[in-house]
Symmetry: C2
Subunit: 346 residues, 2 copies
């Protein structure tokens, strides 16, 4: 199933979308928010019963939602040769790609990512993630789309929160790769919200970094592990705050925390920590979440699917471009390091 990832940047999503509509065996899984925002174009297209709307919320990233999508596909005569076109962000991608991977032992799917997070990160990499019971992303597999169309015009209608979420992942690739683009992103940070075209080079750079790694390690056996940088600590924050913090901003906190813990065990100097903190701080979320007990956060960490035995598997750093995988005991030392970090966070 290994493949080179090619992303097609298009001037208007409607051109390839209309072509796909001509094939009667194509089905469309669309974020209702996108359907509303782009109603001028979308409502003119004759999707008929081939349109499936699915709200892009975390609670829909379940096996039950996948079953409902399958029900809809079957009710409208989908078969082994059908194709699923997904128009939305990461959540629709997860549900739609997972459905495509298990229906009739795999049907083709095509992706029009509409969020910055999906355009600059998740659209390539093949991963699907479904929550199970209380566990985030516990179920999933690797199942790449046949084609990916990026129309940056979708960025115009994104909320600031969504842009910040995407920037969190972009920063994560920049720090992992030690990319010089990080300074540019920081300089342009406040202008981006009024001029979203400024994000285009960052989408390209982010995908370029990701692509270089995943084409060598599609199934996450080696170097791709480093992409978990910021994620282990970030996921736990998303979990304990009930997803009040967006994914990418939680990852921003997660990276800052990983750097702080790296400093505490002397992998990096105080100066290095501050340098990396400066690169991240503009994108940190305001601390408006409901306070949570530290043991809740630790419990969330302990549920991470990458953990082996009693250790926490996470990515720490020896500086920009120098991340490394570590197994750390889930002991008092870790807990006090995390507590210290949260106390420093404004």
């Amino acid at each position: 199933m290994s493949k080179a990832y090619t992303v097609e940047f298009v001037n208007s999503y409607s051109t390839p979308l209309q072509e796909l509509l001509c094939d009667p065996n194509t089905y469309f899984l669309v974020d209702p928010n996108i359907y509303r925002l782009y109603g001028g174009v979308l409502s003119k297209l004759s999707f008929g019963k081939r349109l499936i709307l699915l709200e892009a919320v975390e609670r829909n990233k379940t096996i039950e939602s996948c079953e409902k999508v399958i029900d809809r596909l079957l009710a409208n005569k989908a078969n082994k040769k059908s194709m699923l076109v997904i128009l939305g962000g990461g959540i629709l991608q997860d549900v739609g790609a997972f459905v495509s991977s298990i229906l009739f032992r795999g049907i083709r799917w095509i992706f029009f990512p509409t969020t910055l997070l999906a355009q600059a990160d998740s659209c390539i990499g093949s991963k699907t993630s479904i929550n199970f019971r209380k566990f985030k992303n516990l179920i999933g597999n690797f199942y790449p789309p046949s084609r990916i169309f990026i129309d940056v015009d979708f960025l115009k209608t994104l909320s600031e929160k969504d842009i910040k979420s995407g920037i969190g992942e972009i920063l994560h690739y920049y720090l992992i790769a030690g990319s010089p683009y990080i300074d540019r992103l920081n300089k342009e940070y406040s202008d981006i919200f009024s001029d979203r075209k400024k994000l285009i080079p960052h989408i390209h750079e982010s995908l370029r970094i990701k692509k270089r790694v995943i084409e060598k390690d599609e199934f996450d056996q080696g170097k791709r592990n480093l992409f978990n940088y910021g994620h282990t600590f970030g996921h736990a924050l998303e979990s304990v705050t009930g997803y009040q913090v967006s994914h990418g901003q939680a990852v921003t906190v997660g990276m800052d925390m990983a750097n702080y813990l790296s400093f505490k065990i002397k992998l990096i100097s105080a100066k290095q920590f501050k340098g990396m903190h400066l690169a991240l701080c503009k994108n940190l979320p305001p601390r408006t979440w409901k306070p949570f007990p530290m043991r809740e956060y630790i419990k969330a960490l302990s549920k991470d699917k990458k953990n082996v035995n009693a250790n926490l598997t996470c990515i720490l750093t020896r500086g920009q471009g120098r991340m490394e995988k570590r197994q750390i005991p889930m002991d008092d030392r870790l807990q006090s390091g995390i507590k210290e970090y949260f106390n420093r966070l404004k």
Copy 2:
């Protein structure tokens, strides 16, 4: 994920099983029937909480059963590096392999097939199949085991029904490949039930035929399609009889029916049909199933996941070793051909 399939024939399953038990991160999905029959050996092994028993019945081949197995694995601290060892036939293989494929984006699994069907056929080929609502095998993917251990001693405790089911699939490979082993199998047919060692060369030949094809077409895009020979019509029979007919014997009926339909549209002569019928007839099931209306059978056929548009996708024949994929309209002609066939069947 493509791989060469190597099967290890062992003198006693208990040796590799004991070795696997030494790894505390290994879990065991076992058919309770096997656990009872081989209790002398198995009850002495210290599985502890790592043992998961799952009854090998069709109604357990569901997403809900998979979720229960996952619950059990998680409750007992399974993680990304865990391995699932499956001891049982095709149903346990389907549930266990599918669980392994989607848990933590894939954990390793090892298979000890205990039925003739699993030893001579399903253990290689990577397919997983889960029923969904009223649809058989609608959900699934391709996910090969890391290792396969075959102990032919398991055949001793199989019922005659299970042996006949396995022989159905062996005959299917022999007819597809035009293998000379088919005459030998027919000569030895009645002796096999008292001397099950006679099945060993047939397990080897059957796997050899299957392996040759799947190593070239793992994802069922081309030649592997021919393995659906007998299956389309067989699955429908299983479905309308509520699984009173075993899989392999239903496939035997399915092949005979496919041959009859091939004769009706003049792909083969009456003589060819009779020759192939002679090769199959010993393994046909007695017609003891509850009568069903023809429209029920046609409805079951129409639900086959390989169908495209209003046509039935099936494999017909131009003679032994000469199968071909066909799309046939689901019209009166097909229906009367099937009706005729069933009327001929004693």
